[in-house]
Symmetry: C2
Subunit: 172 residues, 2 copies
């Protein structure tokens, strides 16, 4: 790769809470060449994968997933937090450190048999992405693959993705 | 325009609260050709405007602003709700029907003199976009223009934008 994208990721200690090292991608997004290179790198392995839709998870996932969809020439489907989508939704829960959270997707966003590329900024424990895969399956669609900008390999989120093709641009 | 984009916008009565007619753009986003046409239409008037960065407002603004930035080949700057950005921020308040809310932008996201294109899905009263313009000015950058997918003309948000060039794709 011509650009060292990891150089544009900023480490923020103790965010959003003490003990967490946050990987801040905003410096990467704000440099036109790095941003475009990241989007291209996330889309590239799926150019000929027969992808019908790109779905991404609120909110940082949208910053990468929407341009990936535009570049692939396919539609974009937002996976949102509960209560944000105005029409009929599917819902999937996932575990937090303490308690549970849930995400939603419109019931008419995907058609049965659609091949869906899932996008997020970071793969950590994989809980949110696994819930998003559940939403895709509730629609009768299938997961063509998962593409993330950053994989935190030590958390082994990869194991939660049920063998779906995973593409990672930056690995820690 | 070859595609009638307004046909892909779904009206949802009484969302998010009674008496509000919500313009749901998710059917437009999920059709590849309509999505790409919308992004192209939002970017087109600013192709030769010397834009250095595209900034967009959480969260629907990201679905349009990030692909506009990728197509223009410039960096993307997220304007977020309070507490979401991990580094030093500027803050701007705006009025809600009852009370106030605020948005933030990283202090190092823009450089003095940068020309910034602001993107959002809907221009209603203009309060959020006016606050985003304030953030751009706090950075010492200038607003090259504002591009929205939908303008609710009856609410006259246009008057809040201080004469910045405004481009609207669908007008109600």
């Amino acid at each position: 790769m011509a650009i060292d994208l990891a150089r544009y990721v900023r480490d923020i200690p103790d965010f959003p809470q003490p003990g967490i090292l946050f990987r801040d991608i905003t410096p990467l997004l704000s440099e036109g060449k790095a941003f475009r290179a990241a989007v291209d790198a996330m889309a590239e392995p799926f150019r000929d994968a027969g992808v019908d839709r790109v779905a991404a998870i609120e909110a940082r996932g949208y910053m990468l997933g929407a341009p990936v969809a535009a570049l692939l020439g396919v539609g974009f489907v937002p996976v949102r937090k509960v209560g944000k989508l105005p029409f009929h939704t599917y819902r999937a829960e996932y575990a937090l450190e303490y308690g549970k959270a849930a995400i939603e997707m419109h019931r008419d966003a995907l058609l049965r048999g659609h091949r869906v590329l899932l996008i997020d900024d970071v793969l950590a424990t994989g809980g949110t992405l696994a819930a998003a895969m559940d939403l895709v399956r509730q629609s009768g669609a299938e997961v063509a693959g998962v593409s993330v900008l950053i994989e935190l390999a030590a958390l082994d989120g990869r194991a939660r993705l049920g063998g779906a093709p995973l593409h990672t641009v930056i690995r820690y």
